[in-house]
């Protein structure tokens, strides 16, 4: 999902945290191209690719759905996020504080921090499947939600403890390490796909198409994915970053708006090539005698990135899974720590990061977060995206409607009730709708975003009239 360290942590150094980025700090497209390409080749890609296969997706739906969905995500970054980022050049947090007030930003930070913890937990799970191989650890099955063995618990606790301590003490070193590792990881993903394709007997595009064919019945516990599921998932799996404006913090360094196009590197390397490679690895595993025996016994084969990568590219694959999980969990835990620290400003960064790492490790013990990653990522985008609508609608429509810009700052309030009401109502209504009608949540990300923006304008009009 994400792994950016080059530009993402200005708040760590207090760099332009509460002021616009000055022109002499603007960066050109090269910095962003490398960052986005590396950022989206993360540990979770090893799980997301196979999960598409477990959802019984067909070749057309997967390949064309990813092409279209990723393009829509790039367009969203280019035309929704970047223009606001380069106009104001502020972080999401400061921009939100001006509109919504400090107390509401704390609420946002809490949601953000918790979701980051669960995401980091999934990354710890991914790394544990690779670390556990030498210990002959039984891998969790797709339907497992709780820890399945003592060795699983011990490996996850070990991996989580190392990642948490490093995130708390040696963040900068890992950040540099992840920048070095990113091109190598992308190459391992590509090679793993090529090798899996070869072993599946793929010699032409039609052979590749035939790997998925017209799809299949979804595995137990999974819903059937169509073109629309794939497209909307690809578009909104990073909704928190583009529609949710989290990437304002990164793109405010852009020297021009066209830099928004560089996000295509991340989408088509990580969310196209890497997902399809991981999908091919899992397709190869499903043809193995081991998987056949599991099917014959009425079971469900595990989606375990470690064994999948080891089977295809050997020890280099194992190292890739560990590094991908580790280098992405590290900044995720750190960012979650920063979000929590905003709530408890007097506590030390090291302590907060360690506690955050502990929560992420506990989450990592439960395979449900990794095995239900498609659903979790959809929830993650759905919850955080509407906050971006407040910024977008305020930016483009407040003057036309005679509303005050940066209301909380102008009014001197720490809590703008219009923002909270719009966020909660849009979230609760569409989440309940999704739950009761059994609709895939990513279908409702955009309606919830638009609803939140419109409600914010309506409530602001009422509030400011008073």
């Amino acid at each position: 999902m994400e792994n950016n360290a080059i530009l993402q942590e200005p708040s760590r150094k207090g760099e332009f945290e509460r002021q616009p980025v000055p022109p002499y700090h603007f960066k050109d497209w090269r910095k962003f191209l490398g960052m986005y390409a590396g950022e989206h080749a993360a540990g979770t890609e090893f799980v997301i690719g196979p999960l598409f296969l477990t959802a019984g997706v067909s070749a057309f739906d997967l390949i064309v759905g990813l092409l279209v969905g990723n393009f829509l995500a790039v367009l969203t970054w280019r035309y929704i996020t970047t223009p606001i980022a380069t106009a104001d050049r502020l972080t999401l947090y400061y921009k939100l504080e001006k509109i919504a007030g400090r107390k509401l930003v704390i609420g946002y930070n809490l949601a953000n921090g918790l979701l980051f913890c669960f995401l980091a937990g999934a990354m710890i799970t991914v790394s544990a499947t690779a670390v556990g191989i030498p210990f002959d650890m039984p891998m969790p099955a797709l339907t497992d939600t709780v820890p399945t063995s003592i060795s699983w618990v011990l490996v996850v606790l070990g991996v989580g403890a190392v990642i948490s301590v490093v995130a708390a003490k040696g963040y900068d070193a890992v950040s540099k390490f992840s920048n070095i590792a990113a091109p190598w990881m992308v190459m391992v993903f590509l090679i793993a796909g090529i090798v899996a394709a070869k072993r599946l007997g793929v010699t032409s595009f039609s052979d590749l198409w035939a790997v998925w064919g017209t799809g299949s019945e979804p595995f137990p516990g999974q819903i059937k994915f169509t073109f629309w599921h794939v497209m909307f998932f690809a578009w909104f799996c990073n909704a928190a970053m583009h529609l949710g404006m989290s990437d304002l913090s990164v793109l405010r360094y852009a020297n021009k708006n066209t830099i928004g196009w560089t996000t295509a590197a991340g989408m088509y390397v990580g969310h196209f090539m890497a997902w399809i490679s991981a999908c091919l690895m899992f397709a190869l595993y499903l043809r193995s005698p081991e998987a056949a025996a599991i099917f014959a016994g009425g079971g469900v084969p595990p989606v375990a990135p470690g064994p999948l990568a080891y089977e295809v590219v050997g020890i280099a694959g194992l190292i890739c899974v560990v590094v991908a999980g580790w280098t992405t969990a590290n900044p995720t835990i750190y960012r979650a720590g920063l979000a929590f620290q905003a709530i408890f400003p007097k506590s030390s960064t090291v302590k907060v990061t360690l506690v955050t790492g502990g929560i992420a490790t506990i989450a990592g013990l439960f395979p449900a977060f990794a095995m239900k990653l498609l659903d979790f990522v959809a929830v993650y985008g759905f919850i955080l995206a509407p906050i971006g609508a407040v910024i977008f609608f305020e930016y483009y429509f407040s003057a036309k409607l005679g509303l005050s810009k940066n209301y909380a700052q102008v009014k001197g309030t720490s809590f703008n009730v219009a923002v909270l009401a719009a966020w909660l109502i849009s979230m609760v209504v569409f989440y309940a709708w999704s739950l009761y009608q059994d609709v895939f949540l990513s279908f409702f990300t955009l309606p919830a975003w638009v609803a939140c923006g419109l409600l914010f304008l309506l409530f602001s009009k009422i509030l400011q009239k008073k």
Partner: protein, 60 residues
């Protein structure tokens, strides 16, 4: 600049190994060994380049 050329060189070698495997000129264990050597070379090489960049090479 040296590190860019070094990185590109290792990536090209890794990709070449995959192509050789695809053309049946390498078997799976030869590919795995090649990729492992490239991996060690990648991280070891960058560690050495980083050490030299920081002035470690002047100590002798």
């Amino acid at each position: 600049m040296k590190s860019t050329y070094f990185g590109l060189f290792v990536l090209v070698v890794m990709f070449s190994l995959a192509i050789l495997f695809y053309q049946d000129l390498l078997n799976q264990s030869q590919l795995n060994l090649g990729l492992l050597i490239c991996t060690v070379g990648w991280f070891g090489g960058f560690a050495v380049l980083n050490f030299l960049k920081r002035g470690g090479g002047r100590m002798k």
